[in-house]
């Protein structure tokens, strides 16, 4: 029987310094012992990246709800690839347990001849001979992905085409795909590295939160706000460091309005661990996020660099950057960044609502009234220095909750006379969905003459890498009719109303998802 001698203990504590010391030692031990639990319980949950809702579901449902590349790719494969698709997986563990398609591990001895193939073409033929139709590639360094012809296969869109990507994990489809090269950027010049990275002194090299370093092409101003914080601020919420108007784009590759298919291929001399990313920028030169392309690990030797990705609006341009891990160094990179023609590659045809419904997906709807609080602006005939029209974001408790009680207008002033062009950028982000659809109406009213713009067709855009959430962004350039020019006053006070209908495809596993993240941005207003 346990008896607590509380009173005696307290009495002793009050009388004896020795006891207090002893208590202190025990407390230190206890804190030291408890702190890992607290830390790990917290980091464990974030590491497992699972929301608080689905923890009581089956393992499969919980896994499907993970905001992790492997989980999303497997979800995609299970839902949208044909039953007879066969995958070559470069990370077997997750797929063997959660995947529902035939597969072969990259470690399977049957693949020994694959690693002896001299060319990407012969590697492709060998794999097709084994019945492999798709490849699942992780976001970390796996030797065959930079030491064999498999690497070249992944950067040749005529042989293997990217069909889905999520946070660095990628699903490629094997086969002969017709795709023509549009443009390329040879990146064999000198690459600049520096450890002078500070928020107020932006240099080319930046330290990532996990201790890795990145560097980009030399000789061009850092117009894209890369800084320690911004690497994680993938929603464009942080203030700009450098005005977009100063942006130069001669070291970047421009993305069309339509999504584009990119590949990197080449080699570099590597000592240590490195990854190659594409840094994404919007039309105003703002940094949007990173897209993983390749990872490698070598001890002072040349390795193959290869990878593929897709990007579409609002991504306007991409720039390759290399992240170096710890003391790693990379020399003499000879890398080509190539844009290929075509529709790019979709996440999946299955995201078409009809197909998705047929697949058993659910489509909750929400009418939301996003809110803008704009800064005071003074426009000119030039581009208005609309650095940041602050955005508002909020969480919906459920996908159908109304937020009509919030103000839904933005007021701004602009001077000048001419044609107003308003670019509206918005993003609907759903934490727990692969992607989302958005449709909306936009109204612009200005001065005494109110001009209504409606029935704007919102482009359905490709998924944008945003770190932890997927999103779909719409962009619409609205030009006032010529005859309305005269109506516009010199000084313009406008009001922008936005009503957005939010439609998100939600799988059965996500039905109980409560939190949807909606963000709207007005990126800039141009007066022509």
């Amino acid at each position: 029987m346990v008896r607590i001698r509380f009173a005696a203990l307290m009495g002793r504590l009050s009388q004896s310094r020795a006891s207090i010391f002893e208590v202190a030692v025990v407390v230190i031990f206890a804190v030291a012992s408890v702190s890992p639990w607290v830390y790990l319980a917290r980091s464990g949950f974030s590491k497992f990246q699972i929301n608080s809702i689905s923890v009581f579901d089956s393992d499969e449902s919980k896994y499907a709800a993970l905001r992790h590349g492997a989980a999303q790719c497997i979800q995609f494969i299970n839902n949208f690839l044909p039953e007879d698709a066969k995958l070559l997986v470069f990370r077997q563990a997750d797929f063997a347990y959660y995947g529902k398609r035939p597969f072969i591990s990259f470690e399977d001895p049957k693949l020994l001849p694959l690693y002896e193939q001299a060319t990407a073409e012969s590697a492709s033929q060998f794999l097709q001979g084994l019945g492999v139709t798709h490849l699942l590639v992780p976001d970390y360094a796996v030797p065959p992905l930079y030491n064999s012809s498999v690497a070249e296969l992944l950067s040749d869109p005529k042989l293997a085409s990217l069909v889905f990507e999520a946070q660095g994990y990628k699903v490629f489809s094997l086969g002969n795909i017709s795709r023509a090269r549009v443009s390329g950027l040879a990146l064999s010049g000198e690459w600049f590295t520096s450890s002078l990275v500070r928020h107020l002194n932006p240099a080319w090299q930046v330290q990532n939160g996990d201790g890795t370093y990145m560097f980009a092409n030399e000789g061009h101003p850092l117009s894209d706000n890369i800084s320690l914080e911004r690497l994680y601020a993938v929603y464009g919420m942080a203030p700009l460091d450098i005005a977009p108007s100063k942006a130069k784009s001669d070291s970047v590759l421009i993305v069309d309005t339509e999504s584009s298919y990119f590949t990197v291929s080449g080699s570099l001399r590597l000592s240590g661990s490195a990854s190659l990313y594409l840094a994404l920028y919007d039309g105003a030169g703002r940094y949007l996020g990173l897209r993983h392309m390749w990872s490698g690990l070598a001890k002072n030797r040349r390795v193959t660099v290869s990878g593929a990705s897709i990007a579409g609006a609002p991504v306007h341009s991409v720039r390759p950057v290399i992240a170096l891990d710890g003391t790693a160094s990379a020399e003499a990179p000879k890398i080509e960044l190539i844009k290929w023609e075509g529709e790019g590659v979709k996440e999946s045809d299955g995201y078409d609502p009809i197909t998705a419904i047929a697949a058993g997906w659910d489509f909750p709807r929400a009418d939301v009234n996003p809110v803008f609080w704009g800064r005071r602006l003074v426009g000119t005939k030039e581009t208005v220095g609309f650095k940041q029209l602050s955005s508002h974001q909020y969480w919906m408790k459920s996908p159908v909750q109304q937020h009509s009680d919030m103000p839904n207008s933005i007021k701004f002033r602009a001077s000048g006379r001419g044609l107003f062009t308003v670019n509206i950028l918005f993003a609907c982000m759903s934490v727990d969905c692969y992607g989302s659809y958005a449709a909306g109406e936009f109204f612009l009213s200005g001065g005494e003459q109110s001009v209504e713009i409606s029935n704007i067709e919102i482009e359905r855009l490709k998924m944008i890498e945003t770190g932890i959430v997927d999103d779909v962004r719409g962009k619409r350039r609205v030009t006032l009719p010529e005859e309305d020019k005269s109506m516009l006053p010199n000084r313009f006070s406008g009001k922008l109303n936005v009503r957005l209908e939010f439609i998100a495809p939600v799988s059965k596993a996500f039905k109980r998802t409560k939190y949807q993240f909606v963000e709207l941005n007005v990126s800039d207003i141009v007066i022509e």
Partner: protein, 486 residues
Amino acid sequence: MLSKFFEAVLYLCSFLPFIFAVFGVAHYSLRNGGGRLLALPIGLCFGPVLLSLVLEFFFAGFPRRSDAFYVTVVLSIGTSLALLSLVPMRKSLVAALANYRGLFERQLGLIDLSLLLLCLGGVVLALATAFLLPLRENDPLEYASTARQLLLLKDSTQYPFVNTDVSSGYYGPWSHGLGYINLWVWNGLLGDQQMGSAGARLVSSYYVFATGLALLSVNWGSLFRGRLISALLYIGTPIIFVNAISSHIDTIRIATFFLVLCLFYCYLLEKSNSLLLLSAFLSGLALYTHSLNLLILPLIGWVWLLHERKLSFGFFARGTLFIFLALIVVVPRYMKNVEVFGSPIADFNAVQVWQVESLYFEEWLRLARRLDSWFDRLFFGVGKGLSQPDRFGLAYYVFFVALILYVRDVMRDGIGAWRRFFITNSWTGYFFQISMIFMAMVIVSWAVGLDSFIKNERYTLTIQPIVLAFSIPIVVQKLKEKHGKD
């Protein structure tokens, strides 16, 4: 949710016959010495492993039968063993229970009670977290997939799965015994065909609890508070906690490793034949959980030699018997491994693709694990316990403090006192010897350029309970002596 919870409880309850069986035998063997308290953690730890062994026997001998067949025969055998083990000693069982009642019947102060609650809280947190989160870590997923294949085939002769034609593409070149994997299979046999987050997910946390209880039960001459803090620090070791919630194999490996060594010390004290036989058989079960537990044999060999101080016929005879009994459990597996991999234990050489020179897998392994330069191997390899407190906790720091205190105490006896380091007459001295031998093996392997002991941070964990069982009681005792208070 509730059904899953009951399913998990049912799964854990299915261990009980085997736990009772091992507990009964252990209690009988330990009845005369101070190690009586060890019987319960030994039962908790080796009971499920025995279940795995029985299940493998039937999977190998009677393959492709129905689930009900395996469940029935395994539970029948477990129940029979439990009855055989417990009925003859039902009277002494009352005494056994009294031992544990005595352990907690002492007047626990607020501090001790808090420490005890923290220990229990840690285990409950680990259990709950493991229960709630999906399986995600690489190795546990691989073990679970292996178990799924075994469940589908119901034939353990197909293991390891290097022929992917029989395993639906799954490639699992594991050379370990099925001690842990069969606990997942058992979960599937009991009804959870998906082998989701129910019972099997809890096994790793269960073994953390068993090790914590073992730390409370050993070193019975030391202060209870010291043992409590040892258990608490073990449960709170970050990487142990992560392993527990992610269902890693290591907690079962470490628990079996620790308890076999503790049991062997009881043998050294009492020199009873039953303890020798039990230690040897349980060493076999420990080997059956993980190949790395093969370390038990050289460690026991060294401390046994130090204890005996001379090579006699009797020593060789008992040693041979010990090795024979230990290996008999795993020899079939080792023979299969030789057939499949060319060696009894396979690691890097198990995967043929890794041998392709042009792929540079060895370079990748060394760089990814930060073992490229000699300094890296020393600092991040040999010195893992100190250089990675975020993973190993405070254990190795406390260990060095305790080491200084211990050496100072021993050397205080004057010239020739160093000989006491080689005498095994206390738990502290025994744990000191084990720790030193293990570390010597690590350092020697590093010096000759081998990565075997340092390539994986989990390997350093092997002696974590021993490090704690050695150091914490010393420090707590010193504090007590200094301040003269309980």
